[in-house]
């Protein structure tokens, strides 16, 4: 039996093809990308070595800092919204709806599976101003709040909030289910014991439920922030990064640098900066959590 499970040729046959495809499509490009950060050029014009030039450019590039600021602002806002609303929904499912929550869970999860481009298109129409008012502006007109009617997607400040709203709407059902699964796992006896001791309502949630939920909350936080730091589809489909550069995140700036201006070296440097950023944030969350627990 041991012989069968140690069969090297079989192991190679089983795991080899997957490892080969994975290495050439994912691992090799990661290393390749790192090499690109020391070069400049593109596939058509050829490449030349520039040393650390791309990294120096990064530090003095105003557009990079603007994109970074937008990315961080967006990531913090949307992650906070997703986790907070997800948590509230999960508490609602567990404490108020109980067994009857399956239908609501399913409905609120709806938008998670929808194609981003389609959702963005829908939101663009809801917040439209031309050629005619969308749902929001038409509703404001009906309520005679004419002063509020505006080009929601045509100005950086409001476009940011529409974008954030859309991505929170899209994902809150996902985090609700994730946290719900964590809440159901908490032993009923623990909650009951806390109740007997006189804890209820907010105090119960804050002092008993949340600490027990912490590991799942942490996973959700890391998953969410890693997704929002890499936002691309929603931005491209809803605002195209505009007006001007106002809603351009790092990902879109990288994409434009590489494919509109043909700068693969600087594009790779931007991608690398993004990867380092997500890694840093993840490690930071882990680190602060460990301190809390200890």
């Amino acid at each position: 039996m041991e012989q069968i499970l140690h069969n090297r040729r079989a192991i190679l046959l089983l795991v080899g093809p997957a490892l080969l495809v994975y290495s050439s499509v994912v691992l090799l490009p990661v290393v390749w990308s790192l090499v690109y950060t020391f070069f400049e050029g593109n596939v058509i014009g050829g490449f030349h070595f520039v040393g650390l030039q791309n990294y120096r450019q990064l530090l003095s590039d105003a557009a990079f800092w603007q994109a970074l600021t937008f990315t961080l602002k967006y990531a913090v806002t949307v992650t906070a919204g997703q986790i907070l609303l997800g948590l509230l929904l999960a508490l609602l499912y567990v404490f108020y709806l109980r067994r009857a929550s399956a239908l609501v869970r399913t409905l609120v999860f709806f938008p998670v599976v929808l194609p981003t481009v389609a959702v963005a298109q829908l939101f663009a129409k809801i917040f439209a101003i031309a050629p005619q008012y969308g749902l929001v502006n038409a509703g404001l007109a009906l309520l005679h709040l004419d002063g509020w009617i505006q080009a929601w997607l045509g100005q950086g400040s409001t476009a940011f909030w529409v974008l954030a709203l859309m991505d929170i709407w899209r994902a809150m059902g996902f985090y609700a289910v994730l946290l719900y699964a964590g809440l159901v796992e908490i032993p009923a006896e623990l909650i009951e014991a806390a109740r007997v001791d006189g804890a209820s309502g907010l105090r119960l949630v804050w002092h008993v439920v949340l600490p027990l939920l912490l590991p799942i909350l942490l996973s959700a936080l890391i998953f969410s922030i890693n997704g929002t730091l890499k936002v691309f589809d929603s931005v491209l489909a809803l605002t195209g990064g505009g007006p001007g550069q106002a809603t351009t995140p790092l990902t879109l700036y990288m994409f434009n640098t590489a494919f509109s201006y043909g700068q693969y070296g600087y594009g790779s440097t931007l991608a690398m900066a993004l990867a380092v950023l997500s890694l840093l944030v993840t490690v930071m969350i882990f680190g602060s959590a460990r301190r809390d627990v200890a």
């Binding site: 041991e2 069968i4 499970l5 140690h6 069969n7 079989a10 192991i11 089983l14 795991v15 490892l19 495809v21 994975y22 499509v25 994912v26 691992l27 490009p29 990661v30 990308s33 596939v43 609602l92 108020y96 709806l97 109980r98 609501v104 399913t106 409905l107 709806f110 938008p111 998670v112 599976v113 929808l114 194609p115 981003t116 481009v117 389609a118 298109q121 663009a124 129409k125 031309a130 050629p131 749902l135 038409a138 059902g173 996902f174 994730l178 699964a181 908490i186 009923a188 009951e192 209820s200 309502g201 799942i216 890693n226 589809d233 990902t251 790779s268 991608a271 993004l274 997500s278 890694l279």
Partner: protein, 315 residues
């Protein structure tokens, strides 16, 4: 008033015994004998939550309903009537226009022709890999598993330029192969990782018994192990389907001709061309992109939810 209020508060069931298996107090029979006023009070107390629920459902469902209704309106209706009015009739012409003139039909076919081959490849590659990583005994097993795990974290953007260079050299830019290969490689890490988890859940004695009974490795794999993880197989396939079907970035990068666009890039392009003026066909096109996914989700929702959240926790 004060007194009865206090009494009501002390005798009502604990506000939130939501956790399963919590004994209800007071038991149902007793509660029904309470005076009517208290049940009114109860109803009032629950009102905010009920309103919140209704609001929640409106926020989740109304946009989609509005989308569906709008897709059946003639263009003139958008400017002449309120946006929330019901369509005057069923104007299917929008769908015809989106599907044929707007090329949505073609984009749909392209998506099917890239996503399903990639999905098949992912499964064919990752099921044996998961088996080897979890059931077989060899040195370096944990290292390889870790290698796959690292891939889950890699941002897509890092892969873009090197892959573009490779495909450009191999003359694969603007072909379906570029997408199929990328989708496969990119879908592998999570799928391998989840499959390994499913194989781990099989009791080892079961596999050992099969071997003792004289089964070869192929028989153990095909006759015992794979049937036991078939449930998990469907789940990971579903998860990957949603990821790949909704892909925008790769399709945008590797495909340039309109003839090969997938549904997401096609829709992006479509709304760029028609979006400003023709709302009817645009809504129809968006509906065509949304409702098949929605239908699949409605049929298999519990499985989809479980699969997608499992991916998040493991990753």
């Amino acid at each position: 008033m004060m007194r009865s209020d206090v009494a009501a508060r002390s005798s009502r069931p604990a506000p939130a015994p939501g956790f399963t298996r919590v004994p209800r107090w007071p038991p149902r029979g007793q509660r029904s004998r309470q005076p009517r006023r208290r049940s009114h009070l109860r109803w009032l107390r629950r009102l905010p939550v009920r309103l919140l629920l209704v609001l929640l459902l409106v926020i989740e469902v109304y946009p989609l309903l509005w989308l569906l209704l709008s897709s059946l309106k003639e263009d003139a209706e958008f400017s002449l009537k309120p946006l929330w009015a019901l369509p005057a009739g069923l104007y299917w012409q929008n769908y015809v226009e989106a599907w044929t003139t707007g090329n949505i039909g073609l984009y749909f076919l392209n998506s099917v022709l890239t996503v399903f081959p990639a999905l098949a490849l992912i499964l064919v590659l990752s099921v044996p890999a998961g088996f080897a990583l979890e059931v077989m005994r060899w040195r370096g097993r944990n290292f390889v598993l870790l290698l796959f795990l690292a891939g889950i974290m890699v941002p897509l953007q890092i892969l873009l330029l090197p892959l573009f260079t490779i495909y450009f050299r191999l003359d694969l830019i603007d072909t379906r192969w570029a997408l199929i290969v990328t989708y496969t490689g990119f879908g592998l890490p999570l799928t391998v990782f989840l499959m390994a988890g499913y194989f781990k859940a099989i009791p080892r004695e079961l596999l050992e018994a099969a071997i003792l009974d004289g089964a070869g490795l192929a028989q153990v794999f095909f006759r015992v192990a794979v049937p036991l993880v078939s449930n998990g197989l469907v789940t990971v396939a579903l998860v990957q389907f949603f990821f790949l079907w909704n892909d925008l970035l790769f399709s945008l990068t590797f495909i340039s001709s309109d003839q090969l666009r997938t549904i997401q890039t096609g829709l992006l392009n479509f709304t760029g061309q028609y979006g400003q003026v023709a709302w009817g066909p645009t809504f129809a096109a968006v509906s065509l992109a949304v409702f098949p996914t929605l239908l699949l989700y409605l049929l298999l929702n519990q499985r989809v939810i479980k699969g997608l959240t499992a991916g998040a926790l493991k990753g």
